[in-house]
């Protein structure tokens, strides 16, 4: 019976089709993302239609929309001191817009008018949280309009400022890069359960209840996730999720003579399950607590000039501190006020140290050491690296870059802002400007842990010193040093901060902890005089402040509240031939008049 058979076959076909379609329906297609659709549509309209009278049209527009989720928990002595009832959500819209062309555009320019204007931060705004096509487009429309008008003003002022100037290298304002249209499109994440973090914070902070000698202590856990959607007029498009948990423990007290003693440690992970267990953390807290208490009665030293061994994570710590942001490029802006130009180049050098831009081809480390940046690596000894990413914040594909080869600087990390000698991006834009992702410091000449200590003692003896110094934690946080300074000013701490964990090592092998040894910048030149390195290497991760120049001129991609980018650094222990260390100076704040309530229990 013909009709029946036809029906049956038809049904079968239908069934097959249904099964094939289902997976597509479940996965999120980019074109289903209403926000991305709104971004692309408004971008297309702006590129084709936005023009004021006969003036330049934009030659480049990028939209970056970041959904930022933050929850911060702080606890002291077993009790929470702040609470956000549920994570806060914010959507930040950012517009980058360029008029002119790749060789000369409105950027890398600082106008006197820029000072004290909301226009300095123009192009960044808070967007609607709802995935509402009309509203997102409207917000982008207004932000683009403002940015365009400002770009025209800047370009015209810049052209006027450059007129009549001759000579000097003509470096393009914007690098040409291959559009990256096959970058990952990841769906927006679902928030994981965070209740346990409150309990962890309370439990860890309660450990200090049994230490009445410690005046102040605090545990902070910060969870953030930034989901980024990016699209630009060159055809690059990507989405990316970046969850991060930072757990930090701080404690401070004073020695009987008033000298402040403080210590802290931070642990980073990309989700709660990747954090160390509460027991492991508790052990670390207790160790820190006992060390601080012991330091109250420890000796100090006046001055030391001799070999110093940075052991374990302390080596990665100081390497990151001194080299971290120097390994990135930095561009001084043109200004309509020549005095500003000079001031900026001097200012940028002083803040964060001179970039290595002038040192390409120069030796900065011993010939047996090399450094590379590798954003593709995800783990080191089963521990997650925090700088991993497949695209940078400009949508440029990330890649491994050899920065220092056998002691000599070969390359620096760059974003799309060219500098003399480095005209292309290395896919390193993280936030405001270029920064390392995962740094690997390797050495062709390593000693074992014991051999390294022996070498240290040998060199000390050579100089007639009774002891040598070992640093196990350097302190002061690497690039977050400006934040650290601000924090210290806020907490009224006087006197300069001290190295949290440093010991005298005597030739018979015994060690004495030292307090009050000032943290000072280790001059970059000292790194050339590293005489030996130790196995195994250690991993240290920390937030790094980008170079000040990037802050001012790439525009603030503010991911408000998500914090600074985290950089991971793997380095072997480092034995320096000679460093100069001195005592932390006073005056010291007075010690408390009455005993802590913890003592009177």
């Amino acid at each position: 019976m013909a009709p029946k058979r036809r029906n049956a076959r038809f049904k079968w076909l239908f069934g097959v089709v249904a099964i094939l379609v289902a997976p597509f329906l479940q996965a999120q297609r980019p074109q289903d993302d209403v926000v991305m659709r709104a971004m692309q549509d408004e971008l297309a309209r702006s590129m084709s239609q936005l023009q004021l009278l006969q003036m330049d049209k934009p030659y480049f527009i990028a939209y970056r929309v970041q959904d930022v989720t933050v929850q911060e928990i702080t606890a002291t002595l077993g009790s929470l001191t702040s609470r956000t009832g549920s994570p806060t959500h914010n959507r930040i819209l950012e517009v980058e817009l360029r008029v002119g062309d790749y060789d000369l555009d409105n950027t890398n320019f600082f106008s006197e008018r820029s000072l004290g204007g909301a226009t300095m931060f123009g192009g960044i705004g808070q967007g609607s949280l709802d995935n509402n096509y009309a509203q997102i487009r409207r917000e982008l429309w207004l932000a683009t309009d403002m940015r365009y008008k400002r770009a025209l003003e800047d370009l015209s002022a810049k052209r006027a400022a450059l007129k009549g100037r001759s000579g000097g290298e003509k470096i393009p304002d914007f690098s040409k890069e291959t559009p990256n249209s096959d970058a990952n499109i990841t769906p927006a994440p679902v928030l994981s359960h965070l209740d346990d973090l409150e309990a962890t914070a309370r439990d860890l902070s309660a450990a200090f209840r049994s230490a009445p000698e410690i005046y102040r202590s605090e545990v902070t856990i910060r969870y953030s996730d930034v989901y980024t959607r990016y699209v630009n007029s060159e055809g690059t498009r990507f989405t990316r999720s970046k969850p991060l948990i930072k757990l930090e423990v701080r404690a401070e007290t004073q020695a009987p003579d008033g000298q402040p003693i403080s210590d802290s440690f931070a642990v980073y992970a990309s989700d709660p399950t990747a954090l160390p267990s509460t027991d492991a953390l508790l052990a670390r807290v207790q160790r820190m607590s006992s060390l601080i208490v012991k330091l109250r009665s420890a000796a100090s030293l006046d001055r030391y000039n001799g070999p110093v061994l940075f052991e374990g994570t302390a080596a990665a710590e100081i390497f990151l501190q001194q080299f971290g942001s120097r390994l990135a490029t930095s561009r001084s802006p043109v200004s309509d006020n020549p005095q500003f130009e000079m001031m900026f180049s001097k200012m940028f050098e002083r803040m964060g140290g001179a970039s290595f831009q002038d040192k390409i081809g120069a030796r900065v480390l011993p010939t047996f050491m090399s450094v590379r940046d590798n954003p593709a690596q995800t783990l080191f000894n089963s521990v997650a690296l925090l700088g991993t990413s497949s695209v940078d914040d400009d949508g440029v594909k990330t890649r491994e870059t050899v920065l220092i080869d056998h002691g000599i600087i070969k390359n620096l990390l760059a974003a799309r802002v060219p500098v003399s000698g480095i005209l292309q991006s290395t896919g390193s834009r993280r936030g405001w400007g270029p920064l390392p992702s995962n740094l690997f410091v390797t050495s062709g000449k390593t000693l074992s842990h014991d051999e390294l200590k022996q070498e240290l003692l040998r060199r000390a003896k050579e100089r007639g010193l009774d002891y040598a110094l070992i640093v196990r934690r350097a302190g002061a946080g690497s690039g977050a040093s400006i934040m650290e300074m601000a924090r210290q000013m806020a907490s009224q701490q006087s006197g300069s901060p001290s190295i949290p964990e440093i010991y005298k090592l005597y030739s018979d092998g015994h060690e004495e902890p030292l307090r009050g040894v000032r943290i000072s910048d280790i001059p970059v030149e000292s790194f050339k005089e590293i005489v030996a390195t130790g196995d195994p290497p250690a991993l240290y991760s920390d937030e790094l402040m980008p170079r000040v120049s990037s802050m001012l001129f790439m525009g603030f991609s503010f991911s408000s509240g998500s914090g600074l980018p985290v950089v991971s650094c793997v380095a072997p222990s480092l034995l320096f031939e000679e460093l100069s260390l001195a005592r932390s100076e006073g005056p010291f704040p007075p010690t408390p008049i009455s005993p802590s309530p913890l003592a009177a229990k």
Binding site: R45, L77, R83, G127, S128, D130, A134, R138, P597
Partner: protein, 567 residues
């Protein structure tokens, strides 16, 4: 043989002890911890050469939920709980202490502000609380001793001050406790409500900004001092503000605001009422962008009740704050005017923080005790035009040596005399229509082409003469020209200027159309919630100028299409 007697004695004790327990159990473990640490600290500091003579702790618990929406979509929702400590530690004595202001020193900050507030445990663990209190007390003590030395030097070096009143008044102790207020907010329902309420604005391309924001808070304050006071107050606040801005063709931006407030969660208007208000705002905004720009003008005007209230708060209210009369850097306008006429004789002014509401409107400036532990009370500031009292904190001034319950501050600032609920009453009211007729008479008599009617004023912000940016601003948002034939025409771009004090002598009449303005006021002791209530007023001469105008063009492209596929 004595055993039976002993047993009975013990039984007796057992029988009575439950009652004893009930009396001794602290009503509030946080207050108990505060009391314990305060007494302990005062005791420990007695051994020092300069012990404190006064110490107070104030802990403010605040849970704040904010929901913000724009053009029919949600912008943000936050939910934060904080506990903040304010501490007042004084060394010296009531006559001269460490809080004494330096003369000719604009940079010295009160200690409170220099130190900021430390992190205070949120749960009620007494030990953790006491450690936090201890840390702050130590810090404040050291700074107070330093400051007293500086004060003593400063006093020697400068000429004798005009006002020789003491630095601090002695006040009786009080014990008072309110139950912890219930606080409930359906976040999701409010998110949707605010979306719905702001959606209609999106239908009009001339409206560039449209926002609604809900601030729902519950605040519990605990105050303990060395004189024996123990006070606990707990109140919820619900505030909603809707604001929108349209841009006229010449670039002028025209804002409109609407604020609502209640102490009860169900006290805010329902969606239907809010939507009706939004529709009125839209109509007004669209009319404003078409309205002619006002010209500079001097002449008679009517201020609506709201506008008068703001006017009185800004121009009169700040001049009756007690400590200004003592501050050698201040104009001290009314210092010598006690018992003299300062306003027309048909006006009286009160400051009454005991009122939770006036007629049907709730008042934001309500409180039971001020921030120095002094009970609130109704203060008659002006009686039939004659100045009778200033608003007083515990900082005395010549002629007024006690607080009248107006010592207020925002967390992180030292308390100072501030306004609460300012109430302007008139003994000579006419109807609004009659007032308008009187306006027209004045217009004709002065030979002016028209008079002005200020219907609404930018609300939600308070300006003082200081550097703080967002302060009460007497900027009208809805103004009409009133022509001699009675016709009213909306105008835009008006700013009120001139010497406000002369305006007071030019108040001719008031109407019976009283209105309340609820807002926040910023000054040297931070932001505090306040209200101002007044009738409509006819002023024989005010001066207005053109408002400064934005120079930014309107957006170049038309608004984008509302749905995909319509590019």
């Amino acid at each position: 043989m004595n055993l039976p007697a002993k047993i009975s004695l013990v039984l007796c004790l057992l029988a009575t002890s439950p009652a004893l327990f009930a009396q001794q159990a602290p009503a509030d473990s946080v207050v108990a911890a505060m009391r314990q640490q305060l007494d302990r600290s005062m005791q420990d500091f007695k051994k020092t050469p300069v012990p404190p003579y006064f110490l107070s702790y104030e802990l403010t618990d605040n849970r704040a939920i904010n929901v913000a929406a724009s053009f029919g979509t949600l912008i943000s929702t936050t939910d934060e709980t904080t506990r903040v400590l304010d501490l007042d530690l004084r060394v010296g004595d009531y006559k001269l202490d460490s809080s004494h202001p330096f003369r000719q020193d604009t940079f010295s900050q009160p200690m409170q502000e220099r130190l900021g507030s430390p992190q205070i445990p949120l749960n009620d663990d007494p030990l953790a609380l006491r450690v936090a209190l201890w840390q702050s007390t130590e810090q404040h003590y050291r700074l107070a001793v330093e400051r007293l030395q500086e004060v003593q030097a400063n006093v020697q070096v400068k000429v004798a001050p005009e006002d020789q009143s003491p630095d601090f008044s002695a006040e009786p102790a009080h014990v008072y406790s309110e139950p912890i207020a219930d606080f409930s907010l359906d976040k999701l329902a409010w998110e949707q409500k605010l979306r719905n309420v702001t959606k209609p604005f999106a239908d009009h391309k001339e409206i560039l900004e449209a926002n609604a924001r809900l601030d729902a808070e519950v605040e519990t304050r605990r105050y303990v001092n060395s004189e024996g006071s123990e006070i606990r107050m707990s109140t919820p606040f619900y505030r909603l503000i809707i604001w929108a801005t349209a841009k006229a063709d010449d670039g002028m931006e025209l804002p409109l605001y609407h604020t609502y407030m209640s102490f009860r969660p169900d006290g805010l208007p329902d969606q239907a009422a809010l939507s009706a208000d939004v529709n009125k705002m839209i109509v007004t905004l669209l009319a404003l962008i078409k309205a002619p720009v006002a010209d500079p003008y001097t002449g008679p005007a009517i201020l609506s009740g709201r506008a008068s209230g703001v006017f009185f708060h800004e121009i009169f209210g700040h001049r009756i704050e007690g400590q200004r009369q003592k501050n050698e850097d201040d104009a001290q306008t009314f210092k010598r005017k006690v018992n003299q006429p300062v306003l027309p004789d048909f006006l009286s002014v009160y400051s009454d923080p005991t009122l939770r509401q006036l007629r049907q409107t709730e008042l934001l400036g309500y409180y039971a005790f001020d921030d120095e532990g002094v009970p609130s009370r109704r203060v008659t500031v002006v009686q039939n035009g004659v100045l009778k009292n200033f608003l007083m904190s515990r900082t005395p001034i010549t002629g007024f040596d006690r607080s009248n319950g107006h010592g207020r501050h925002q967390q992180g600032f030292a308390a100072a005399a501030r306004q609460s609920n300012l109430i302007v009453e008139s003994s000579k009211s006419v109807s609004r229509d009659e007032l308008k007729k009187m306006l027209i008479e004045q217009v004709k008599a002065a030979n002016k082409p028209y008079g002005l009617f200020f219907d609404d004023i930018e609300g939600g912000f308070t300006f003082t003469e200081r550097i703080i940016p967002n302060a009460f601003n007497v900027r009208p948002t809805v103004v009409y020209r009133v022509y001699p034939d009675g016709r009213e025409e909306l105008v835009r771009g008006v700013d009120l200027i001139g010497t406000p004090l002369t305006s007071f002598s030019k108040i001719v009449a008031t109407d019976d159309h009283e209105e309340v303005f609820n807002g926040v006021c910023g000054a040297e002791s931070g932001w505090v919630p306040v209200s101002a209530s007044a009738p409509g007023m006819l002023i024989s001469q005010i001066e207005v100028q053109r408002k400064e105008k934005s120079q930014e063009r309107a957006p170049l492209l038309p608004p984008p299409p509302a749905s995909a596929g319509n590019n």
